[in-house]
Each structure stands twice: as structure tokens, then as C-alpha cells.
Assembly symmetry: C2
Homo-oligomer: 441 residues x 2
């Protein structure tokens, strides 16, 4: 039995490898043909993709109904079923987002730098497409469209592997996108899927070094970790965010209340929401009750250390509102709650705040609220994160808010991309060096 | 027996892991302390490192003598022994190269871009050190110094793992560098080594994700491949070069002879030397005999396809020089000779040249020799390599030649760095965003 099962599973893996290889080679051929496309051609293709989604919304919704029925039968939680569901309005929003990507500037062909050398060689570094981009993601059909549109805009081909629960929806979407490309005389294989290869398809994608130029996982922390750990293809990692807010003794305390409330509660479940509040001991007595009241008013539970509990236990703190207050344990400092929960700690000084953050951060975003410029500068120098907010909410670490346009995700890695990632991260560069018979002496 | 041996080897691996972990944490602490160092402090540290190498050249040479004796006893080839050897002149050159790195501009603190947002937020993206850089390299003691100097200049700490044959030399060099840092009140752990952990130390470095920010392998193709395949730490890969020169029908044929000779023979054994010559059929009859004569005069063996052999077999071709001519086999097209050998092929047209290159290239450098601008533009658009030379030798893909200063290596990967890599590739960026109490609506 064991032998048979293991033989069968290795046959499945071998089939998946063949499918991924053939798909990636077809994608490469399509990308070679498409690499020189002008922005006008690419934008027209994107507009055609948006139209095709609208025109085929009936068949896409039909396929989605089948996915939804199967998901409910399999006992999928309603929250997840909702993320999987496509109605007319959602398909319209997805189509509109493709049109927004068409409106973005084209990174390809941008001259990054260059100069004329002392010997007269004329060198310039150009942005060019990455080539074949692999995407591994979960059961959200909108990501299928998003990934295809970002890839086409940046001159790449994309090989998709979506969550199996969305299999029928994704197949219908991919068929619509491919037909719209073919109708315009463009290579349909710019958008391909290895979904038929199942789980083994994802594994084979991770091993397809040389066939896939870059792999972008999109989804929960578990998915991203699995891809990072198992992939021999280079990965662009979007990380999780355990973001901190430090309120210094020199802070404008009224502004600091507004910023903490915004960073924690303006939208929960996003990676740039604050998870830990650190308060300088000299202002804790004054600041914490005011901040707690505002946070409690919005239903936030505070996971407080002993010093802050001593202050917040005072009946005057948060008088008249429901007080959500629990004792912080070691685990709280490393937790990305993704909910209306906030860890709170009183620190001796700036150095203690920096030490705490360096120990527990995931390297996403940290905020310093201070009026003392020396404190601000020491805080900036002490961090090792993708973004540092000075007297502003952590929620501003966002491609749209920082003027980058559509966002692939927020990178917490240090190589290639750090912080909000735009289209430019799906490109690489090439040197073009022109001479007149130049040889090296 | 097997159990005992396997138990022993897993004990060694566990020890190596502990050593790497402790070393990396010490390096991290040193880097945190050093991260804010000004250029003046860093350059002074580099000059002190250079002085220490000169001052301790006696003990370094003593250690090197022991390495050399052991290597000869172990039967190391004289070519490799020579690369391992340090004499007074070589130590002087190594020290001088540290001073050259001190003279380079400091990438840290550079403002990459930034702007003021519509809501008044002031955002800028700054270059910051990568953190802890790991280097795995072979038995060339000069790399020890080079790696340490580049790391210090870019505000990083470095964890070294050198070839075991250079163990004593590297220990003496590292001791000198660490002493020079400590003497200036700087953290000695900016420069550390895991050489005592042996082979298992290299393995543990590759698994030290989160402790080591980036791993840079330097050495032969085998070493680089092993690191790329086994590392879970992000790798900056320096690749091999199977570089092509395409001589179009529109080429200036006299200039094309000079360029091919330069690309092949000016220095062999470097990654930007040409390995394959492709000639358009319309000019093959005129060009090949002239090119062959010039290449033969410099002792180059031509591995020629049938069409070019038919031309070169003519007794008039290369009259009066020794004719090194063999039949090309399939393997030749994918070979990086690193020697006075050149594969030669006649192609039907530009499209055939592009197809050949796309099939066999390692993505380093390709040259097009042509006067027809349409050909040049189609060639550029058809390539997928780090550098494209237009009417110039492939040998110009070089940090010094392209104005980047000291070079870490030439990257043929597409993520993070492509082409010649300078100090800037040992940095990452961070967003600093300043507000006045800004919250997100």
C-alpha cells in the first residue's frame, strides 16, 4: 500500500512538473514576443481585459456559484466564503481596477541612470520587464485579475496558481482574459494557470528556477512562509506587520492620542495597523488615561504591562466607558493581533523603546511621536524597518498614500524591494552601452 | 558504527549552528552600534585597517607560510597555491585596495527619492546599511580584506567563511582588522569569522535566515551554485558569463575584427570575455578569414560550425599563421571556456542570432556590431541579459569601466542587482515619513 501510494504521489509530482515546465516555456515565448510592446499596446490590452470581464460576467458568476456551493458543502467558514464570492458589483470593481492599472505610468523603458564615460562610451541603465512572474495565492478571485493586469502592464507574462476553492472561478476569469488578448492579436500565454496541477503545481512552481524569474506569494503569513522556505526561485516577500508607536516625553500628547487611535482602529486586520504602544514613563501618568479612554470608546482591548495597569486601574481613567484591560504576557509583544487589541508598555526612556522595538518588530513600520528633534533622529537611526513615521500614523505605509499608485504588497525584506511595492518591482534593469568600435586597452 | 558517525556529525552541525548564531548576534549588536557612523568615522576605520595589515604583515606572512606548507603537503596544484600565497607586495596591494574603498563615496544616507504628499506629509526614501552580511568564499585571503572593507564602508557587519586552506592566513588577517577597529573604539565584531566551524559553518550560515540579512558567495561556479541552491538566506549571486558577439551584415568589419579580438583575448578567464562569435551569412565570407587570422595570431582555437569551417578551411584564410580550428559540437554553444577558445557560427539573419543567444546565454553580456540602427534596436529588444554592448567589446561590463568604482561582482540575477554591483548593493532603503500629527482619514 505505502509503495503504491508513494509511487502514485511521485507520478502526480512528475506530471505537475511537466505541466509547470510547459506552461512556463509557453509564457516565456509569449513574453519574448510581448516584451517590446509600447505602453499604448499594453494599455489597450488592459482595457480589453476589463471589457472581457464585464462581457463574460455571466459565465464567471456561474463558475463562481459552483465554487461557492462546493465550499459551503465542504464546510468553509462564511467569512472565507464571502471572500470567494463574486457578484455583479464585485466584478465591476475588479474590471475598474484593471482600468486603474492601465492609467498608471509604465515603468518599462525608464532610464534609471547613465553617463558618458571618459573614453566616449555612452552607457545607460534601462528598466525592462522581469520576464515570467509566478503568483501563488489563496482563494480570492480578484487576485487572479490583479496579478494578470500588473504583469501585463509591466511587460511580463504571469503563471498563476490560485487557491483550489476558487478553481472554477479562476478558470472562467483566465479564459476571459486570454480570449481578450487573443482577440487583439496578442499572445494569450501572457496569462496562464497551473491550477489543474493542484498542490503539486505550487510545489513545482517553487522549484522552477530558470523557468520562472520571480515568485510573488500573496495571502496569509502561512502561505508566504511556505513559499519563502521552499522556493528555489527568487521570491518577493510581502511580510506581516507588528508595528509600534512610541510616545516620547516630548510628544504633543493630544496629537499622540489621535495618532494612536488612528493607527490602531482606523482599519484593523491590515499590516500597517499598530499592535504595540510604548510610552515614556515621564508622560505615562498623563497620556495613558486619555489614550485609553479614546481607544476604549472604539472597543479596543489593552494588553497592558504592570506599570501601565497601575495607571489605568485608577477608576478616573476611562470613567464612563467600558474598560477592556488585561495583563500583558510575553507573547503579546510579538503578536500581530489584526483585531481591536493593543499591547501597552511603559518604558524608562528612548533607549528602552528602541531595544523593545528591535527585539519584537517584524520590520514593517514604527512611529515616533516627539517634538524633540534629537529624540526623533536617534529613533530613526536606531530602527531597522521598512518605514518610520514621525508624528504620523503607521497607516501611511501604503503605496497610494506615498504616491506610488497600485501596490503589489508591502515588503519587509531588504533585497530588491522594501516597503510599499509598485509596478517597478516587477521590472529589472539592463545596461545598454554604445560605442564606436570601442575596445578595452 | 553508522549511528556513531551520524550522531557525531549531527553534534558537529549543532555546534556549528550555535557558533554561527552567537557570531551573527554579536555582529548584529556591533552593526547596531555602528549603523549611525559618519563617513569620516568609517573612512578613518578603513585607513586604520590598511595600516594594521601593513604593521602586522610579518605575522600574516608567517601564518600564510603555514597554510602554504600544508597546501603543498596536501598536493594542492601550484596555480591554486599561487592564489593562496601572500608576499610583501601582495599585502601592500591589499592594504592599498582598502584605502581605495575609503576614497569611494558613501552610499548610506543618500536620499533615493521623496516628495511632499497632498496632505503635507513629507516622505523620503533613504539608503541604509543592509545589516549583517555573510560572505562564503574560497581560498583567496585578499577576499577576506575586500569583504570586510566593503562591509565597513557600507555600514554593515560581516560574518566571514573562507576556504579552509587559507584558515591560518584568514585568522591572522581577521585578528589584525579586529584589533584596528578596537584600537579606534569601534566594535571589533563588525568583522567576524565562522571559519572554526568548518564546512558545517558554511551550511549553518546558509540556514541563518533572520540572523544574516544577505549572503554573498564569491568564487567558482560550483560554490555559487551550492549557495544559491541551499541557502534560505537571501543571496546576491554573481554569475558566470557565456558572452556572445554578433557581427551583423551592416557591421563595420574592420572594427568588428578589433572588437572580437579584444572581447576574446584582452583577458581570458574573466566573466565578461566573449565565448561565442555569431556572423551574419552575408558577410561571413569576407569577415571570418580576417577575424580568424587576428585571433589565431593570439593563439585562439576556433570551435567552428560547418558553414564557418567551409570558409576557414580555404588555405588563403589565415595564411602564414598557425591555424587552430576544430569542429564545434553542441556542447560548445553552452561552454564558458575561460581560455583562448571561441565558438564560431554563421547565422542566417538577426533573428537566428537572437534565438541562438536566448537559448545558450547565461544572461551576462551580449554585443551587437552593426551600423544599421534598426538591427541594433531589434537586438537590444530581443535580449534578456544584464548588459548589451553596441559596437563595443564585451569587456566593458565592469564596475570600474561603467563608473561605479569598486565592484562586488557582476550579477546575472534579476532581483536586487543586475550587472556590475557596487557598494550600493550592500544597502537597502527605508522610508522616513514626517507629519504634524497626521492621521489617515
Amino acid at each position: 500500500m505505502m509503495t503504491t501510494r508513494s509511487a502514485r504521489s511521485s507520478t502526480i509530482a512528475a506530471h505537475a512538473e511537466v505541466l509547470v515546465r510547459e506552461t512556463a516555456l509557453a509564457a516565456r515565448a509569449a513574453q519574448c514576443e510581448f516584451a517590446g510592446a509600447t505602453r499604448a499596446v499594453k494599455d489597450a490590452a488592459l482595457l480589453a481585459m476589463a471589457s472581457a470581464l464585464r462581457a463574460r460576467s455571466g459565465s464567471i458568476r456561474g463558475a463562481n456559484e459552483e465554487d461557492l456551493a462546493a465550499a459551503r458543502e465542504a464546510g468553509m467558514k462564511e467569512g472565507l466564503v464571502d471572500r470567494l464570492a463574486l457578484d455583479e458589483a464585485r466584478i465591476e470593481r475588479i474590471a475598474a481596477s484593471v482600468e486603474e492599472i492601465a492609467a498608471l505610468p509604465d515603468p518599462v523603458g525608464q532610464v534609471v541612470d547613465g553617463s558618458t564615460m571618459p573614453n566616449g562610451l555612452r552607457a545607460r541603465r534601462l528598466r525592462v520587464p522581469m520576464g515570467v512572474v509566478g503568483m501563488i495565492y489563496e482563494a480570492r478571485p480578484n487576485v487572479t485579475v490583479d496579478a494578470a493586469a500588473l504583469a501585463v502592464k509591466s511587460g511580463n507574462a504571469v503563471v498563476l496558481r490560485g487557491g483550489s476553492a476558487a478553481g472554477r472561478s479562476n478558470a472562467a476569469i483566465v479564459a476571459a482574459l486570454r480570449a481578450s488578448l487573443a482577440d487583439r492579436g496578442l499572445p494569450a500565454d501572457l496569462v496562464t494557470t497551473v491550477d489543474p496541477a493542484g498542490r503539486e503545481g505550487a510545489q513545482a512552481l517553487m522549484r522552477a528556477r530558470g523557468l520562472i524569474d520571480v515568485l510573488v506569494p500573496r495571502g496569509g503569513a502561512g502561505l508566504i512562509r511556505a513559499v519563502v522556505e521552499n522556493s528555489s526561485v527568487p521570491v518577493i516577500e510581502t511580510g506581516s506587520g507588528n508595528c509600534h508607536v512610541y510616545v516620547d516625553a516630548s510628544a504633543d500628547l493630544a496629537a499622540a492620542v489621535g495618532i494612536v487611535v488612528n493607527a490602531k482602529t482606523q482599519r484593523v486586520g491590515v499590516c500597517n495597523a499598530a499592535e504595540t504602544l510604548l510610552v515614556h514613563q515621564d508622560v505615562a501618568q498623563e497620556y495613558l488615561p486619555a489614550a485609553a479612554r479614546a481607544l476604549w470608546e472604539r472597543g479596543t482591548t489593552l494588553h497592558a504591562d504592570e506599570a501601565s495597569r497601575a495607571i489605568l486601574a485608577d477608576p478616573a481613567a476611562g470613567e464612563g466607558v467600558e474598560r477592556y484591560l488585561v495583563a500583558a504576557v510575553e507573547e503579546d509583544w510579538g503578536t500581530e493581533y489584526g483585531s481591536l487589541d493593543l499591547a501597552v508598555r511603559v518604558v524608562d526612556d528612548l533607549a528602552a523603546a528602541i531595544s523593545h522595538i528591535r527585539r519584537y518588530t517584524t520590520g514593517h513600520t514604527e512611529a515616533v511621536l516627539a517634538q524633540d528633534v534629537a529624540v526623533i533622529n536617534r529613533f530613526i537611526a536606531g530602527m531597522d524597518s521598512a518605514a518610520i513615521m514621525v508624528n504620523a500614523s503607521t497607516r501611511f505605509t501604503d503605496g497610494g498614500q506615498l504616491g506610488l499608485g497600485a501596490e503589489l504588497g508591502i515588503s519587509t525584506q531588504k533585497l530588491h524591494a522594501r516597503g510599499p511595492m509598485g509596478l517597478v518591482e516587477l521590472t529589472t534593469t539592463t545596461w545598454v552601452v554604445e560605442g564606436d568600435g570601442h575596445v578595452r586597452p
